[in-house]
Symmetry: C2
Subunit: 339 residues, 2 copies
């Protein structure tokens, strides 16, 4: 199944036997950004993590209208452990399709494939890119585009894009969140998993993801990786070139000093990230500009966060905000994006 096809909704969120909240990022993201399309959560013995949504069995979820069970947790190996299989089969028995954003493919597990076939359910892997991605043309497209970029992975690029999309909507601006990773695709109900696209087609995938649109329409595109990342910079550059953003917003976590998982690599500065992104991005959109910076201040208390935001805004001469905290600084960032 191709990820650009609409996913079956609403969802039942599956949390497995997870005890590590960090592994349930997908479930939390769905609760926060697609809560109206989540009927509840489903856990198996041993789980200590909860989204706070109603605990439901697959049968109860189906009775409340759920169309699919979404695997809302990851583990470090990206695989689907045998302890989860009976729960997934039970969900199919109850009438639900299974949706996964994990690296492991659902249909490669015999017991799931057999159950799906027997019951007529779908096994949907959102990490599978569309099969018809073209080579990028580099041709300018109509409509406006915004791309979130990071100083690193996993510090708020998806969240920032979602928050900006929501803020655009609240101002009456026609905007579409464009997902490039599995959680974003589950939230949006479509998108392209950039990390799974063959390298030669990565920029083409980004072009496909945000097609020609009305002049006043905004595509708000979820960034991936970082232009300074020793493993993923190529993906980030392809996404930047193919997205042709008019506006970038750079995302950063104050206090993070090393690249996640690559302790030999210092994090680039915000200013270096802006400079490099504008230099590289101007290749496919000479009008590219940086509207401001999104800070992930989750580890700071409110006073410390406001101090960092004010200090960085002064230092960089740009709007700076934490979209989670919102407020006037975030309004100013939204203004700068749309100005």
């Amino acid at each position: 199944m191709k990820s650009e096809v609409a996913l079956p909704q609403p969802y039942l969120l599956f949390l497995g036997d997870t005890t590590e909240p960090g592994y349930a990022k997908t479930a939390f993201g769905l609760r926060d950004w697609a809560g109206e399309r989540c009927v509840g959560e489903y856990v198996i013995d041993g789980a200590t993590v909860s989204t706070g949504l109603a605990p439901l069995t697959p049968e109860e979820a189906a009775a409340r209208g759920a169309k699919a069970l979404v695997i809302g947790v990851a583990n470090s190996g990206g695989f689907i452990p045998p302890t989860w299989w009976p729960a997934l089969v039970r969900a199919m028995d109850a009438g639900l399709d299974i949706v996964s954003g994990m690296h492991a493919r659902l249909r490669e597990i015999d017991v799931l494939r057999d159950a799906a076939q027997r019951l007529g359910r779908r096994l949907i892997d959102v990490r599978e890119p569309p099969s018809n991605i073209p080579i990028a043309t580099g041709k300018r497209r109509s409509g406006k585009r915004l791309l979130t970029l990071g100083t690193d992975c996993a510090l708020g690029k998806k969240y920032t894009a979602l928050a900006l999309t929501r803020a655009f909507h609240s101002r009456g601006v026609d905007a579409t969140f464009r997902a490039t990773g599995q959680t974003g695709i589950l939230i949006a109900g479509g998108g392209i998993p950039m990390d799974a696209v063959v390298a030669d087609f990565a920029a083409g995938a980004a072009e496909m993801l945000s097609p020609d649109a009305a002049q006043d329409h905004w595509d708000v595109i979820e960034g991936q990786g970082s232009l300074f990342h020793p493993a993923y910079a190529g993906v980030s550059l392809a996404l930047l070139h193919g997205s042709q953003p008019d506006v970038i917003v750079v995302c950063h976590e104050p206090g993070r000093e090393r690249v996640l998982g690559h302790p030999g690599y210092a994090l680039p500065s915000i200013q270096d990230t802006i400079d490099l992104a504008l230099r590289l991005g101007s290749r496919t959109n000479p009008d590219i500009r940086c509207a401001g910076v999104s800070l992930n201040t989750a580890r700071l208390d409110d006073a410390a966060a406001q101090r960092v935001i004010a200090h960085e805004s002064q230092r960089l001469g740009l709007p700076v905000a934490d979209p989670v905290r919102g407020g006037e600084t975030f309004d100013a960032l939204v203004d700068a994006c749309l100005s």
Copy 2:
């Protein structure tokens, strides 16, 4: 079959019914760089292109020791036309495996798959990357590395890497040509087709391609694309980051002003290409330096070529040479690489 596995050699070069020399690039490359491992060429009715090697039937080639027929031509669609199928089956009948670097997969053609199975021959697609590519670590590796980079595609990056490897050998330097495209892989008898690697693993593929080596050993790595290419810059950046080159050589064709196939894009200057490559490459190897420039002067007569080479060398303050023409300027470029 994985492309890191040694290919069966020597080869019989298959030219099909080709009338366009530009489509026989692979065959010419094999003749020039692996001539001692090519027993001859094989054409079918209608062909007007020849490599100048001995015309042989598959049976004659097998009698002279050939182990595989290599498809040495491409066509614009990258497919294997039905007019070629009887010749390929005949080669298998004569005892040869079939090796292809085309986009289309040999085993997806029923008549070839059936013949291979019946006769116990192998169908080898060198565009298939290894299945065990890791995520890049960014860790420095032992040994020396040189990467060729271009202002565009198709202007001599592979040729330059091959010529430098040959020159290194002639000076007694231990060096290995590392292939990143199908023709290079056929020549080297191994390598990784960078364009077919999934984007998240592209830098990891480059790390895998040039592993830890002796301190005085040089890997001479074939570049791909261009950091300024609207479709392929991501691949180029991943290859740059993963290769961690100590030395880069920038390749350019004087007179080319627009990106091939993307007439809306001006070619970057040599200086901009050097600057960007050093800036981006220093992320994974702070010691990176540019040894000089390789010019493809095939369209110029000798006097004009020497003038351009001298002018560019003076202007850039770097060794500049055309490896095809060789001579003192090329010797100076080789000196600068090894210095």
